[in-house]
Symmetry: D2
Subunit: 350 residues, 4 copies
């Protein structure tokens, strides 16, 4: 089968490789549409180390091709979505409520990390019953593919942020995860949502997804603007959706005592992130810093599909470009450089 | 009246000053016994800025001398304890469940910060009904004075640490707050408590308060030892009871994915604290960092008194030295230098 | 001053009585608009016992007439709202996070219960700083008066219901509290909201406030319909907004194992409410039954005002009738009989 | 193999039947010791309907005899414990944090309910990696068998009761689950534990496990006594460990506003349980009623083993009688009649 792989740091290619086989609890999926993720780019640049002939991709919906002998809820021909994170549900971490950390830190992240990803004609899904969901008839593949990562991750940023009904929130960075965090804050009943972003098309989308104010960090100190917008109180919750040291520091500075900083950004690069000691209240201001990795699982996906069914969110506004699978390299390159104000490129298999 | 004051950075003196007057909701307290706190020393060295003629001290029990017109639950002659933190209970922060942050960061901390403290013949208590508690007959002043700060702060370190019943905990530093965090972990049902400490007398107390293992950080890397004691899993919860950058980093390194770092140490000094990026799971390992300031209030104090009444904890083991109020300067000096393995010096008034 | 009072069970009258005086922390409020609440009717019919010459009413906004000496945040002339519930913020219950239960069960409920209510030319507000909120310029009195009870109570029904993002909810009864519970479920990110109601005008409003399905309990068993709408799973959360035994039982039957029943209905009448043993999972299905009394306080009110400011909710759709204060008796009578499909009658003072 | 079975309502027998076979994720266990549970008696009397030739028993430790092809953490010869509840970890309920309800209400309860139990020479365990735990060398089979149901269930009663550190708790009934709830309250840091019981040997054990007061319900109204012991406040938390209507009502009456009723009793019999309307605060006193079914899983079991390892609890005090497996019928009969003040009978296999 054809697969789009990483083959050493900085190297990608569309290659031929063997199709995967299912174990007793697994499924083989034939993708229909997928999305390129910035973390695919991070991976190729070496963020998680070197990889050879590793199929990329983790955001995909498709048709079940084959299931293992112990799979109960799915069969060949089913139209399904699979989470970017596919936990081992009987692991201790999952039993403790941290399924994305199953068996090791970030252990639920298997696609394009510890096994082949989804940019291929066939993809292997572990624990099909636990990690797949049927897509209802009224929902398009294009809509559904957004539940696999962008919606679940961005929304988790808001859910973890401990936003009181009517509370104040700042969402730092309005890439696709940040945009969904903004939407997530709206879905959690925030009373004032402040989006931090400089790119105009993203600012516009942020407003469509629920931002009441947009702060352009290139036109002034975003923390100072947030303080002004909150009568110098700071926000109840700040969401980090970028993964930079500066942004994390700004989050800590922007929340009020008793507030929450919710991180969903992937932090690459330097050895340390920095907590500004004074604004952190010298370790006593009850400012909590919480983090998460994209929640997966059939239940989570099912709940997100309901939000699509009821029209509570339209994630397809984030699709700025479309490509055939044959041109996935071009999609990948654009995502890497963010040229043409790309937000999410949709890949059509077939 | 006599009062032990800070009079400029680095300067202390026993002086004469006017006695305080109560507002309608307040009380005037005549201390009987008190404890010197390391944070008194931090204050004198400039941690919260310069202060002139500011009475020191915030850990005290005593007799009510006078109450304001609107006080309902107390009258002159009552034997009472007052929390080190005396919140404004109708503030927004208190309404949000963060009473120690009332009206501003650390705003519940009034004694020896924004008003005179308790090392004086008389001390002013705001909101007497909300911030005092009657001491039952069976409990000595010596026992009771520990609820005002050491027990409430140390225990909070454990309560915030999200310790599962039977879970694993590491408590970094076994000063009086750390010792009470160790005891707090035992009271929360921890299944394995690892205390980190190098001073022998503190190691011994740590074991008495419930530590199953003691790790001496001068004899090896404490994180490595904690990993060995937990089959390389790391602990569910790590409690920072010192306030150092190194210790906070070690906490982050010592917890497993999904674990909690609970800070009760006061962090003075440099501009930043450092989060080790990789061990933090690149911001996605669901390691949460929570902080707290000493919980106050009549309800909290009442609950802590019950633990003394039932003999669930004996905090007086931490009293290594005793002084008359006339000699408070000497007690302060010893606390500042930690000479003679001092843990807590008890001050007798009158 | 003129006041609309209960004067014995079943008796009401518009009478003259003395104006109230503020204590040091209190305020006197001159109402501008108010709403009649069904609980006013319950009170007059004896639900909380007999009362003589007790001013009715607890939903009101107005102008501050006078403040006590210790009030800091308000002064005469300020346009404000006051919660129906006005807690004693330094009480033990408030310190425990249950401010509406301050000092006794339902102890935060003072208006028209243990002191005069707000259907008068002047009303007394205890702890002004803790219980009043300034109304921003852009918000009308008509909008703001809904935060005092209907929004805070109905939304609390949803907040307590533990609704997962994308989860399923049934809201039993679409009176004004139920309608706001429906809206609250939408604001909490529910993925499927099922409203139970038979009155057509209320069904229509339920849809406007976010209901995805409306079940008419007079056309079939609502539990059976809810099961059908949820693939026989039951809902994650059921909200009781009526206060009847049958409805509470239906809630227990309608939730799935692990689900939550959130009660905001006032339960009058018989000695018992009944838990259906089998559907309750013989006490082991992890179905939790939680209850609440209208949350009050300046912080809560401030957060609700933000939702009005951002246009996230328009409660004025529930105002079906308007009256001058002189005609409050007529408004009361209509509310009592629910004639003309009344939902909420607005009272204009002066 | 030999098995002790229910064979129609009211009928039991020691019979021969075929040994079980493991599926790919399963294990076959050869029991060494077990305990008879009162719920075995309930089952035989028809509580969950009729059953034919169903092996009884669900509290057991033993040696792994064989594992399925996909099992990773266990192999033949391992000494292990298995929870009474063996969840399907990839079910939606387990993903939602309600593993004991997997796939249906009480769906994690498989032994002696939907498949053969553990009173046999061999027992089948579903999802061995998720549901077994290795027993460390220092822990006896006798100790370890208590983690499978009595400790996990009783402790859950306390964990769910929302006991504040230093809070007050009443535990109704001191059978083995109630005794472990009492111990659980102590492990959660309760400040005053009131046990309700009339049998003298159980009263004595209750004190040993941490009860500060014992109330004999045959010598007076237990609610009145609890009120007296709490200055008429009521308790923060009440635990129902019996499963009777009267006891559940007493729990509701005994808690203060804002308190929690935690049910771990199995409720058989009549159609309804009764909530006393007034003491429930007419549905507005923030009294929550929560329920649970025995938590299972390798992580839970591992945590409980730590408490045994550190000597934090000695459950073997509850073993009042011992029997060989050949005499299991006699043990069952005694458990059914509770003669000779039996608390738990230990069964020795081979």
């Amino acid at each position: 089968m054809k697969a789009f792989v990483m083959d050493g740091i900085g190297e990608t290619a569309l290659v031929e490789k063997d199709s995967p086989e299912p174990g007793p609890m697994d499924a083989i999926l034939e993708p229909t549409v997928g999305l390129v993720c910035t973390s695919d780019c991070h991976t190729v640049h070496g963020a998680i180390g070197d990889r050879e002939n590793l199929t990329l991709g983790h955001e995909v919906v498709g048709i079940v091709d084959e299931v293992g002998s112990a799979v109960e809820d799915f069969e060949a021909g089913d139209r399904v979505a699979v989470g970017a994170i596919t936990p081992d549900w009987n692991s201790e971490a999952a039993q403790a409520g941290h399924s994305s950390q199953s068996n090791q830190a970030l252990g639920g992240w298997k696609f394009a990390n510890v096994k082949d990803g989804t940019f291929a004609e066939y993809a292997h899904v572990n624990d099909a019953d636990g990690n797949l969901v049927h897509i209802p008839d009224g929902i398009s593949d294009h809509e559904a593919v957004y539940i696999t990562d962008m919606m679940t991750t961005g929304f988790a940023g808001a859910e973890n942020a401990n936003i009181p009904l009517g509370g104040t929130v700042a969402v730092f960075a309005q890439g696709p995860v940040g945009l969904m965090a903004t939407k997530g804050a709206a879905l959690q009943g925030a009373g004032k949502i402040i989006a931090v972003e400089t790119v105009e098309s993203r600012q516009r989308l942020a407003r469509e997804y629920g931002a009441d104010h947009v702060v352009d960090f290139q036109k002034g100190d975003p923390v100072a603007e947030i303080m002004e917008l909150t009568d110098d109180e700071g926000v109840d919750s700040a969401i980090e959706a970028l993964g930079s040291d500066q942004t994390l520091q700004d989050c800590i500075k922007a929340v009020k005592p008793g507030g929450t900083v919710s991180n969903v950004g992937y932090h690459g690069g330097d050895e340390f992130r920095h907590i500004p000691r004074e604004e952190w209240g010298v370790g006593m201001a009850e400012i909590n810093i919480v983090t998460d990795l994209c929640p997966g699982g059939s239940l989570r996906l099912k709940r997100l599909l309901r939000l699509l069914e009821q029209g509570r969110v339209d994630p397809t506004k984030m699709t700025t470009h479309e490509f055939d699978f044959e041109d996935v390299q071009e999609a990948f390159n654009m995502m890497d450089t963010k040229e043409d104000d790309i937000i999410k490129p949709l890949i059509h298999f077939n």
